[in-house]
């Protein structure tokens, strides 16, 4: 602990582990600490099931819901976009070799009290009762436009200036309010309607991400790792260790040591490890963060799949805000033993949204209603923090709390931005060289 390092990373959440890996690969001497005895922090998958009960202060249940250690319960529900930034990071850093993924079975959207499958191909789109036959034509024209759009080639703009607001783009294609809801929230995955007044290129870009992700493996645009999301930070921690990073878990951290307005070390109360840069999650530097909102999440144990999903073993359901008179969408993510996160015949659903009222749990009700009978429910309301400065002077670089989005795009934006703030340059993937060679046979 009393050694000297280039960077000390505190917290082993996904963002901190990716950064730790990238910094080690870039030749920095990294010490990575966590006050918990497990990897992952907020992005851990808790196991066995009793650990979840302890985490929420409930009496333990042992093997009541199948074997306790078959459970790996995420605290923050998210899926990976198959063509998204996290998948690119996994491939380019080689961390993909430590993990295994499966597709998520389906993606659904809520409309008028019912859920509809988001069509995964044209045949499903034609058969879907999500929109009428004429609306389908208009929607198809819109998708074709999105697919052809190239910001560098004005010919593909079809007379739409990239600066016009998204709302105007919808109007050009004559899409009705329901289709707008569906496109903005179930495809482009916007959390609220603020995007409507912003330039339409964002909408086009995000529809493309959905579409390109869907094209990669088929059933839905989403991937999810076997054994839960907690595998992701561990994969990046291994990358960091292989490039020389030192790990210390179960390490109480007393304070960050400052001198002349910038960081010089981290103390556990007895010893001080010296460093010139600190990277941490908001819980390690609360006085340097501000609260920007709250997220409410309900982790639910079910003993049946969700109704009207054709018994899918993993799904996402999006409830667009307009459908339930809210400002922010409600998200439902469900996974099961197909991804090795539950005992057989059980299902794990997480309902989450951004808090808007004084009764956060009630805000989840439209989502909870879709689940049917619930065996057990764990509700948490967590504060969202962002750093109050960019860290360039203090040399303390703090990640943002994990938001309510159901994918990792904003997570990766934050990571890449922090890396750039630290080093002044973009990450150079060519520095990753593994020993993963096929040795010559006998």
């Amino acid at each position: 602990m009393d050694d000297t390092y280039d960077v000390i990373v505190m917290g082993t959440g996904l963002k901190e582990c990716i950064l730790s890996g990238m910094l080690s690969v870039s030749g920095k001497k990294v010490l990575h600490l966590d006050r918990n005895a497990y990897y992952g922090g907020e992005s851990a998958s808790l196991t066995p099931l009793d650990q979840v009960y302890q985490h929420f202060g409930k009496p333990v249940v042992g093997d009541k819901y199948g074997r306790g250690r078959d459970w790996n319960v995420d605290l923050i529900p998210k899926f990976l976009m198959a063509n998204g930034q996290l998948v690119k990071l996994l491939i380019h850093t080689g961390v993909t070799r430590y993990l295994e993924f499966k597709s998520v079975d389906g993606s659904y959207v809520y409309k008028g009290g019912k859920i509809y499958k988001v069509p995964a191909d044209e045949k499903e789109a034609l058969a879907s009762s999500l929109m009428g036959i004429f609306e389908k034509r208009r929607f198809k024209n819109f998708l074709q436009f999105v697919q052809d759009f190239d910001i560098n080639d004005p010919k593909t703009w079809k007379g739409v200036e990239p600066t016009v607001p998204a709302k105007q783009l919808y109007e050009k294609f004559g899409l009705d309010a329901n289709t707008q809801d569906f496109t903005g929230h179930a495809l482009a995955l916007f959390r609220n309607d603020k995007y409507m007044t912003e330039p339409c290129t964002q909408l086009v870009k995000k529809c493309r991400l959905y579409s390109d992700s869907l094209a990669r493996y088929g059933k839905s645009p989403y991937l999810y790792p076997l054994y839960g999301l907690g595998e992701l930070p561990q994969g990046f921690a291994r990358l960091s260790a292989i490039y020389g990073g030192t790990y210390m878990l179960d390490k109480p951290i007393d304070h960050i040591v400052m001198e002349d307005g910038h960081v010089v070390g981290v103390s556990d109360g007895k010893d001080t490890a010296k460093c010139s840069i600190v990277v941490c999650d908001p819980t390690y530097a609360k006085d340097r963060c501000k609260k920007v909102g709250q997220v409410v999440r309900a982790i639910c144990i079910l003993n049946h799949p969700i109704e009207n999903t054709k018994d899918a073993q993993s799904v996402q359901i999006i409830i667009p805000q307009n459908q339930v008179n809210r400002n922010d969408d409600i998200y439902v993510c469900m996974v099961s033993s197909a991804h090795n996160v539950c005992a057989k015949n059980y299902y794990l659903a997480i309902v989450a949204t951004t808090v808007e009222t004084n009764n956060p749990e009630a805000e989840l009700q439209p989502g909870l209603d879709l689940l049917g009978p619930i065996e057990e429910k764990f509700v948490s309301v967590v504060d969202l923090f962002v750093p109050s400065d960019d860290g360039k002077e203090s040399k303390i670089f703090i990640s943002k709390s994990y938001d309510a989005t159901t994918h990792f795009e904003t997570t990766c934006d934050d990571v890449l931005d922090i890396f750039k703030r630290i080093t002044g340059e973009d990450f150079d993937f060519s520095k990753v060289k593994h020993t993963d060679v096929e040795a010559v046979g006998e």
Partner: protein, 243 residues
């Protein structure tokens, strides 16, 4: 047991698609993708106390090299390595995983154990402490890698000076340990990475044992995806629209 899905030669034809949401379902392309098959592949994780020579075993496995360097720096860069081993009945692949030195000050994490077919528990034959603690490691393996076979490897046999030294792991110690947990050990070896003694025999024997035990419960996992090395659905501009 779980052949690498990116390996092999069984081919299946897939649907050709236009991009994403616009894609057609009705045309079939001639392109085929390689799917799970053939060469069985086994994941073996190295485990044991810091400094017993796990990375030395890894180096011998990887390119039959040896380094006198010790400490953390000598482990940096070692990740995983796959080798083909020719058994009389079948060619198999062993993938050996090094710990990355994470056990030095901390925990390795459950992720390391996932999907492991075997753990090679290493100790130094002239350091009894590294041997006595192995029962704890066995527990870790049993908890985190269900069904994984456990092999025992005593390293540094070249350094045993006198059998009388109190710190040497004796045959009696070994026998006692084996009788305590005979059901869980699938193989016991003694090697010297420095003199290169016993290593090739060990790798061959592990491959043999692993393959024998898996033949009867061969399963294919066709839906497993590993971004970057799983074939993706083909994306082509569809010229043969038919509806």
């Amino acid at each position: 047991m779980d052949p690498d899905p990116s390996e092999g030669t069984v081919t299946i034809s897939t649907f050709s698609n236009n991009v994403g949401l616009l894609r057609k379902c009705s045309t079939v392309s001639n392109r085929s993708i390689k799917m799970a098959t053939g060469i069985p592949s086994y994941k073996v994780i190295l485990h044991g106390e810091y400094g017993v020579g796990k990375s030395s075993i890894f180096r011998r496995f990887m390119n039959n090299s040896f380094t006198e360097a010790t400490g953390k720096a000598s482990t940096i860069g070692l990740d995983q390595c796959t080798r083909t081993i020719n058994l009389p009945s079948q060619t198999v692949k062993l993938t050996l995983w090094d710990t990355g030195g994470m056990e030095r000050m901390s925990f390795i994490g459950s992720s390391y154990y996932r999907g492991a077919h075997a753990a090679l528990l290493c100790y130094s034959v002239n350091n009894k402490d590294t041997f006595s603690i192995l029962s704890q490691y066995i527990l870790d393996v049993v908890m985190n890698a269900e069904g994984a076979k456990i092999f025992l490897c005593g390293n540094m046999t070249d350094q045993v000076s006198s059998e009388g030294s109190a710190n040497v792991v004796t045959d009696a110690d070994l026998e006692q340990f084996m009788s305590q947990c005979q059901d869980v050990l699938s193989g016991v070896y003694r090697v010297s990475c420095k003199d290169c003694i016993g290593l090739e025999d060990m790798f061959y024997d592990m491959a043999k044992v692993l393959h024998q035990s898996s033949v009867s419960r061969m399963t294919l996992r066709r839906d497993m995806i590993r971004p970057g090395d799983t074939p993706e659905r083909e994306v082509v501009s569809d010229k043969r629209r038919c509806c």
